[in-house]
């Protein structure tokens, strides 16, 4: 089942759901004909789109809003913060082609601060699935939760099966004494390969698919920080405000000290190209990341 099929099933099951877009229809091609007036396309108007969604939510609807992640989160940020966030309305924001998924579009389309911006807003919840199957598994809980939510849309095919979704809980694939890979979203598939490469070298590797970044699975992260020699945060996001920041804040808040290696974009955008070349160029293939991690382990 893909994202749109799940979305259609859920929307058919509950009259409160409406599907909205700012003319980004790639993930919801079949919805206009199927839902008629429950499908609302406002045109290329991200700010007004969020306002319209706010008004619909005031009437008891649950708008599921689709736009490109960069424009949804940045162009409309003040509307999301001041209208949806302050009023704590159940508007569901689905950001398309976030992070590396924007591939060849260039810096204008690169949503690399979306997690930071969304998690900063009071009441907002954030879901960043590892792949399409993971997204489908979590969709119902995210859409039915009474809070506003941001979904970092990820249609990548799954490399592995996932366990059922539980609100605010990470999916733990393995626990490792030497290294634990903490990852969300697009780079999950490559992280599986990192694990394989490291294990071949006899390293004990933990792998955690965070799923939700807000609320964050604090217990799992703190335990991992105690039990693993090195934590590696893997994200296609700027280093500021995303996963690395979340982990760092959490450890400091709980007076816990441990070694963390951040794999994120530092003070730059990524080079626009197709995913395969992009991963290699940005040193984010499983093999390349494994090498960086081994170097780090050998340093100490």
């Amino acid at each position: 089942m893909n994202y749109e099929e799940r979305l259609i099933t859920l929307t058919l099951s509950d009259d409160r759901f409406l599907i909205l877009t700012a003319e980004n229809r790639a993930a919801i091609r079949n919805c206009p004909a199927l839902f008629k007036d429950r499908f609302i396309d406002t045109g290329i108007t991200e700010q007004a789109l969020i306002g319209v969604a706010t008004g619909l939510a005031l009437r008891g609807r649950i708008p599921i809003v689709h736009a490109l992640a960069a424009f949804l989160t940045m162009r409309a940020y003040e509307f999301i913060r001041s209208d949806i966030g302050f009023a704590n309305l159940p508007v569901k924001l689905v950001g398309g082609v976030p992070g590396f998924l924007s591939e060849g579009n260039g810096p204008t389309h690169q949503a690399l601060e979306d997690i930071a911006m969304m998690r900063m807003i009071p009441n907002m919840t954030v879901f960043s699935p590892a792949d399409e199957e993971d997204m489908v598994l979590g969709l119902q809980d995210i859409l039915r939760h009474p809070s506003p939510s941001y979904i970092r849309h990820n249609p990548l095919p799954p490399e592995i099966g996932h366990c059922p979704f539980q609100w605010g809980q990470a999916e733990i694939f393995s626990e490792g004494r030497d290294v634990t890979l903490i990852v969300h979203g697009t780079l999950f598939g490559q992280s599986l390969m990192v694990k394989e490469h490291l294990e071949k070298k006899g390293i004990s590797v933990g792998l955690i698919n965070l799923r939700m970044l807000k609320p964050i699975d604090e217990a799992t992260l703190l335990r991992t920080g105690r039990e693993s020699t090195l934590l590696v945060t893997i994200e296609d996001h700027f280093i500021t405000g995303g996963l690395f920041s979340i982990v760092a804040e959490l450890l400091i808040k709980h007076h816990q000290s441990c070694k963390v290696l951040p794999l994120a974009l530092e003070e730059r955008w990524f080079h626009p190209c197709r995913m395969k070349d992009l991963l290699f160029h940005e040193k984010r293939t499983g093999e390349q990341m494994a090498r960086v991690i081994i170097d780090k382990m050998e340093e100490s």
């Binding site: 108007t45 306002g51 319209v52 969604a53 706010t54």
Partner: protein, 288 residues
């Protein structure tokens, strides 16, 4: 150049007049509301000029047009009013006292830490449909509400009050495109055309004229009225929708600071903080 106070006669063939009692009620409510605003200006200051210019509009709408009453503020069948120019909130709160939505003592808490009466609307104050303050937000939100009423086949009206300076914000024009596309004839956009934005006359900064042509080009049915003439308002709002299938816009030509001669049409009558003595004296000088 914009000329405040010009009246465009409407529906001359069917021109209606208000009965003396009806007119009297409107005038008394507007007068009392302006007095409340002066009280708030004496309790730490507020945006008097912008509030005074829309007192008559709000008074008319709540008294004679909107289907809303103090015991049914959350009724799903009610009409909605969204004040997008949130800094005019003293006009709303002053009127809410007159309508019995809130007690008069509530205004004594202006800017106090124990209440939510501050320079922009808070949704916990009975009668406030949504918070505002950041300009250019409530037209898109009103459109969302109007759209839902249409989807459900319900007949609620949705009124959104915008300042003219606020029309600088691009989100309003995005919203106008959407209102036209979805044929929202249940949406009534009211422009408080007092001719000023924070520091300057609108025409000195980003000229809006010809404003009626802008709205017409955006697919709205437009009416220009004297925003201080209750009779003009009665003639205008009773003929909504102006044209089935078209969103409505009323350009209400108003005067910043209307009601207090020394404040009228002054660029510096924006935010005013008054002494107790001034509140007393200006209240005496208020136009009845």
């Amino acid at each position: 150049m914009f000329n405040p106070g010009v009246i465009s006669p409407l529906h001359t063939e069917t021109y209606v007049t208000l009965k003396p009692g009806e007119l009297q009620l409107l005038k008394e409510r507007a007068y009392a509301t302006r007095k409340h605003i002066l009280r708030m200006a004496g309790l730490g200051g507020c945006f008097v000029g912008a509030a005074f210019s829309c007192v008559d509009l709000l008074t008319y709408l709540y008294t004679r047009f909107l289907k809303i009453s103090k015991n049914h503020l959350n009724d799903p069948d009610r009409d909605y009013l969204f004040l997008s120019k949130g800094h005019a909130v003293p006009a709303l709160y002053g009127l809410f006292v007159e309508l019995g939505f809130i007690g008069p003592e509530r205004l004594d808490h202006h800017l106090q830490p124990d209440d939510l009466i501050y320079w922009h609307p808070h949704p916990n104050i009975p009668g406030v449909e949504f918070h505002s303050g950041s300009l250019g937000h409530l037209l898109p939100i009103g459109i969302g509400v109007a759209l839902d009423c249409k989807i459900n086949g319900e007949s609620n009206h949705v009124v959104v009050i915008l300042g003219d300076g606020e029309l600088n914000e691009g989100s309003n024009w995005e919203a106008c495109l959407i209102a036209q596309a979805y044929r929202l004839d249940n949406l009534i956009l009211v422009i408080d055309r007092n001719g000023f934005q924070a520091n300057l006359r609108t025409e000195q900064l980003l000229p809006l004229e010809p404003l009626e042509k802008k709205f017409q080009a955006f697919g709205f049915y437009e009416m220009t009225i004297d925003g201080h003439s209750f009779t003009d308002m009665e003639n205008t709002f009773t003929s909504i929708p102006f044209e089935p299938g078209m969103p409505n816009v009323v350009i209400a030509e108003t005067i910043r600071g209307k009601g207090l001669k020394k404040f009228e049409a002054r660029h510096d009558a924006w935010f005013c903080r008054l002494s107790e003595e001034e509140v007393e004296r200006f209240s005496q000088e208020l136009e009845r």
